[in-house]
């Protein structure tokens, strides 16, 4: 007589644990529990994948080379300032390659002076072979390039995290993947396009002076239709003075609904950049039009005061990502470290602008290399269909087993139910994310559960046909089927593990449920049903078995 008490207790414990872990994922019931009881439960549970609840999955790549160029451009500015400070005139500084700066000067005797001055830039080293008598070539060291690229990614990660935090998304996932990729997952988001724009915007805010002294400035057309920008740039190609560029201001004709662009001749030199901002808020102006009020930090405020003082009655362009928002005339010196960014935008646009300004600029533009967006309605559809077909399939199988194997089939159905409860319970315990392929994995495991029982029952039938008494037949059936079941489960487990280790995204979700399911299946098929048979055969010598 085999002991069954221990195995029964084990089964009961497993079921109770499974239910305890799963309940928090089922708010309809969970919320009705009294608070003291809720505390007893582990509070997480199964999360729904993006395919089931809707949301965005983005893989972004930082344009590292641009990050290096931007850093080098900044150094170019600093070098120009430095040369001006040291009263070294007649030298031009330009970025001539990705990480290369060339300084050209008129008289060769300036060379030593410039070399001396540039000792302040230890990240750059002179490439003597590339220079001539009247030029000096400086290059960024490889180590420095690597450092810039690396910090660009970390900074981008940080910036995106800030922006998402301020945008307000429940349980976002933002992480680095590999060397230069960033994965952003925003489950259950309602306005995917807006969120994507918010993430992708470089948000590089710059204050630049208009070049009104040049004749070209007056020649530029008042405004052109949107889409004509390239034509304008082409038209004036070669006529733009060195150190200047043409940038466009957006405007909207409210009556016709047409969008226009106004070209301005702007000095390339950045007077002040967005990294000196300490705050940005949306305010409503006197004509009910929203604007963004920015506050500078102490250093920025001083700089801003100095710049405005030096450029009274001149126009300053407020440039965000190479688009002019406005180009007001500086009326007087502005102290106090405040400025306003006006422009034709809606309250929502102003809001988003304030968010990106507060969160800071990205160190370089981002490229989207993968973008999966699932609307909430499709998610609901999928979940309903998935559950419906799972239930339907389940009912069909349960009925089939009960009809074909009668009482033994019912016992197998009990094992199957046990299987499902344990599987869902352990998914919840692992805080796994349930995806559509995951549901498919569950269904497949159920199929394998049925197969184990079929194997055992067919073996028992064979034993019975040979005229063995019921108890011996049951034991023999289980023993002989055991090896087959283990072999078949292990081979499937090997597939599952390979999928888990090397698969990505949806494949991984499938692999998790498959591997868990197989392990649980072995348990329920070999322990769960056997214990019932043993109880049935315990006290009396059973004459016939309903199988």
């Amino acid at each position: 007589m085999k002991k069954v008490g221990g195995r029964f207790t084990l089964l009961a414990v497993v079921v109770v644990l499974s239910v305890a872990f799963f309940l928090p994922s089922y708010p309809a019931v969970f919320q009705t529990l009294p608070p003291w009881l809720k505390k007893v439960f582990p509070n997480k549970g199964i999360a729904l994948g993006l395919d089931l609840q809707g949301g965005i999955h983005l893989v972004l790549e930082v344009e590292e080379d641009r990050a290096v160029e931007i850093a080098v451009d900044r150094s170019v500015n600093a070098m120009q300032d430095l040369l001006a400070d040291k009263k070294i005139a007649g030298a031009s500084v330009k970025r001539t390659a990705n990480a290369q700066i060339t300084l050209a000067f008129q008289s060769a005797d300036l060379k030593a002076q410039i070399q001396k001055a540039l000792e302040d830039f230890p990240a750059f080293s002179e490439n003597a072979a590339a220079g001539t008598a009247a030029t000096l070539v400086y290059e960024l060291s490889d180590g420095e390039i690597k450092r810039i690229k690396d910090s660009a990614i970390n900074q981008a990660l940080e910036t995106i995290r800030n922006r998402i935090d301020q945008f307000g998304v429940a349980e976002p996932l933002i992480q680095r993947q590999g060397l230069k990729q960033i994965v952003v997952q925003l489950p259950g988001i309602k306005e995917p396009k807006r969120a994507k724009d918010l993430i992708k915007e470089t948000a590089l805010l710059e204050f630049k002076m208009l070049d009104e002294s040049n004749k070209l400035s007056a020649d530029l057309p008042q405004r052109v239709l949107k889409g004509q920008e390239d034509a304008i740039l082409k038209q004036y190609e070669g006529k733009i003075p060195e150190g200047d560029q043409i940038l466009f201001e957006k405007s909207l004709d409210k009556d016709s609904g047409r969008e226009y662009r106004t070209p301005y001749l702007v000095k390339k030199r950045v007077m002040l950049a967005g990294d000196v901002l300490s705050d940005a808020r949306v305010s409503i102006g006197q004509f009910n039009d929203p604007y963004v009020a920015v506050t500078f930090d102490a250093k920025g405020a001083r700089e801003f005061e100095r710049i405005t003082e030096e450029h009274v009655k001149k126009r300053m362009a407020i440039v965000l990502d190479n688009t002019i928002y406005s180009a007001p005339v500086i009326q007087e010196r502005i102290s106090g470290g405040r400025a306003q960014i006006t422009g034709s935008f809606t309250t929502q646009e102003a809001n988003d602008l304030a968010i990106v300004l507060r969160a800071g600029a990205l160190p370089a533009p981002l490229r989207v290399i993968q973008d999966l967006t699932v609307g909430p309605s499709l998610g609901r559809d999928s979940i309903e269909k998935g559950i419906q077909s799972t239930l339907f399939a389940g009912v069909v199988v349960v009925l089939f087993m009960a009809v074909y194997y009668r009482l033994s089939g019912v016992i197998a159905d009990f094992a199957l139910t046990l299987n499902l409860i344990c599987l869902i319970g352990s998914l919840a315990a692992l805080n796994a994310t349930l995806t559509l392929p995951g549901i498919a994995g569950i269904i497949l495991t159920m199929g394998m559960g049925v197969d184990s029982n079929v194997l055992i029952f067919e073996r028992i039938r064979e034993e019975l046909r040979q005229g063995k008494p019921v108890r011996l037949a049951v034991d023999g059936g289980y023993d002989k089927a055991l090896l087959t079941i283990i072999d078949s489960h292990v081979t499937t487990l090997i597939t599952g593990l390979a999928l888990f280790l090397f698969g990505t995204g949806p494949i991984k979700g499938f692999a998790v449920t498959l591997c868990l399911g197989i392990a649980i299946n072995l348990f329920t098929a070999l322990v769960g049903t056997k214990v019932v048979f043993d109880v049935m055969n315990r006290h009396r010598q059973t004459e016939r078995l309903s199988i």
Partner: protein
């Protein structure tokens, strides 16, 4: 006792020549599909090939040809359009290497909003995948497949003997190719989910083969006098009712999934459905005959028996 099959005594091994012809055709088609995939000429899903897919739901029906005309008027050629008639849904796919820069998804939505102003639309899902990611996924999938095959051969070789391992692996590969061939013949898209299905059915087909092999091993040990072919035939007949019952239940599960599981699960279930049929067939008609025709004859199990 309800039985679908009573005691059977079918000469499976005697029909192996017919079976080999059938298998040959399926494998050939599968190999053709494999070559086409490698050449990039097969119908690969955008998760492998890179590109954009947008699924739109309208409040009124939009016909496929209207949609195509609208896209072409706006210079968006080469889009594949799939219609889910019952739900007024359109799935628009653009495969191209460079799409990600141009924001094709936004363009598609803009075109439909402009061309069909009277019909409101909802973007149900949009997917954009850069070519590098697609390439990485292809590699990952291939590695996963190779690793699992190696693992399986090793395990079965250890549990049985080497030729059992090879026979099981060949049979499994046969099944994967057969399903791939079917997808190629039907011009169905090979997506990440389909690859998942292929791996699943590989697992299923293996289970099936292992069950048959197990019985062969058992009989080889007990019955010393019978020839290999007779033992294999008997073993298959002995497990036949299990094979049929199990396959039947799995098919019972898969049919509702194929018919009502929604567009996402349809191809997945179809692949599995065909995989189950072929998997059952292959453990009887591919894996087992391979043991018979394996050169060299007796292995360690046979010597003992």
């Amino acid at each position: 006792m309800i039985e679908i099959l009573g005691k059977t005594n079918v000469d499976f091994m005697g029909r192996r020549k017919i079976a080999f012809v059938c298998s040959g055709i399926m494998v050939a088609l599968g190999l053709l599909a494999l070559v086409q995939i490698a050449r990039g000429a097969a119908n690969l899903g955008i998760d492998f090939a890179g590109g954009t897919a947008v699924q739109l739901k309208f409040d009124q029906p939009v016909r496929t040809d209207e949609a195509r005309a609208a896209l072409e008027r706006n210079n968006l050629d080469g889009a594949e359009i799939q219609e889910f008639v019952a739900e007024n849904k359109l799935l628009i796919r653009v495969k191209a290497a460079t799409t990600i820069e141009e924001k094709v998804a936004d363009r598609v939505v803009a075109i439909f909003s402009k061309e069909f102003p009277s019909k409101t639309l909802v973007v149900e899902s949009s997917t954009e995948i850069g070519p590098t990611i697609g390439h990485k996924l292809q590699e990952d999938a291939l590695i996963a497949i190779l690793i699992s095959f190696a693992g399986i051969i090793l395990y079965i070789a250890a549990r049985f003997e080497f030729r059992f391992g090879v026979a099981a692996a060949v049979a499994t590969f046969h099944d994967v190719l057969a399903v791939l061939g079917l997808f190629y013949a039907l011009d169905k898209e090979v997506t990440l989910l389909v690859v998942t299905a292929l791996l699943t059915l590989a697992g299923y087909s293996l289970t099936d083969t292992v069950v048959v092999f197990d019985r062969i091993r058992e009989n080889l040990r007990v019955r010393r006098r019978d020839g290999l072919e007779i033992i294999i035939n008997n073993s298959i007949n002995q497990v036949l009712s299990r094979t049929i019952v199990t396959s039947l239940t799995v098919v019972l599960v898969l049919i509702p999934l194929t018919l009502a599981g929604g567009e996402v699960l349809h191809d997945f279930s179809l692949a599995l459905l065909w995989g189950v049929v072929v998997g059952t067939y292959s453990s009887i008609f591919v894996a087992s005959p391979l043991l018979v025709i394996w050169p060299g004859g007796a292995g360690k199990l046979l010597k003992r028996g």
